[in-house]
Symmetry: C2
Subunit: 143 residues, 2 copies
DNA sequence: TTCTCTGCAAACGCTTTGCACGGAT
DNA sequence: ATCCGTGCAAAGCGTTTGCAGAGAA
């Protein structure tokens, strides 16, 4: 699945197709994730969507994102040790987190094909690759 | 620095060389990390070292590992979202975590040299690459 | 009615902080 | 006397769980 192919209009069908009852909250949460480029945390989603849905609770966001993960339509990113970020792009790619501004960027990478399924005799199910540093915007702004 | 070059005898000198006062607890914690192959969590270190040092507290382990990280002699691994693991091998390498037995293996990898310093105009300070799946031992044992 | 979704409140687990005691210089 | 390391207890914070009320079928 490619994030750019998920339109807001198609979000509802997309949830249904993946066996998810498209409630109002679930739809909003998925839409927010699909159009976000910054791989938001639960807290960010909560503060953002609370504007539209004042009754929204974090519990619902946690429930929903765990459901989405089980259904395979989002992946959880473990970049910080203490909080989870979420990405609706489930294709294999890397992430770059700017330690100055906190933004998380997608980075296209080609993984060596010989480690696609096995590495050192271990069977590989998931691959996670992320980098930290100073992003191009922050480099510009500080000279 | 290469983990295999750190002998237990040399640990004290190694701490001093890196500007760390080699107290008994710090020495024991570093030694444990240096000879461990499983990238232990604070909890694992605590239970292991408590046998030798019954008065040891987790606070001391947290304090010590944070100090070690600041001094650059260990790195924190964010593989699970909820707990930190520690590695005294500060050379660039990948990790494989077995979701069956929980063991974490070192994996030598060559990163594409073109992403050593910059990627998509972003300045890269840290690179983290880890995989999850079933390790060779668990594959054998379950057939 | 029955089943599912939502959301408050409490619990949980890892990590950090506050602080006092003890040892070394 | 001063400084630093240690460790108990409490706080902090992200996440999960228990549960009751609301809503859909």
């Amino acid at each position: 699945m490619n994030k750019s192919k998920i339109t807001i209009e198609g979000a509802k069908d997309y949830l249904v197709k993946n066996g998810i009852n498209p409630s109002y909250q679930r739809l909003k949460i998925f839409e927010h994730l699909a159009k976000s480029t910054s791989h938001p945390t639960v807290d960010i989603i909560y503060h953002e969507l609370s504007k539209e849905i004042p009754t929204l609770s974090k519990t619902t966001i946690y429930n929903t994102l765990n459901l989405f993960q089980r259904k395979g339509i989002v992946i959880g990113l473990t970049i910080e040790d203490n909080k989870l970020r979420y990405d609706s792009n489930t294709e294999l790619h890397a992430h770059f987190k700017c330690t100055k501004c906190g933004e998380v960027y997608d980075i296209p990478v080609e993984f060596p094909p010989e480690m696609n399924n096995k590495v050192n005799e271990h069977i590989v199910d998931e691959r996670h690759f992320y980098m930290k540093g100073t992003c191009r915007n922050c480099t510009k702004n500080t000279g």
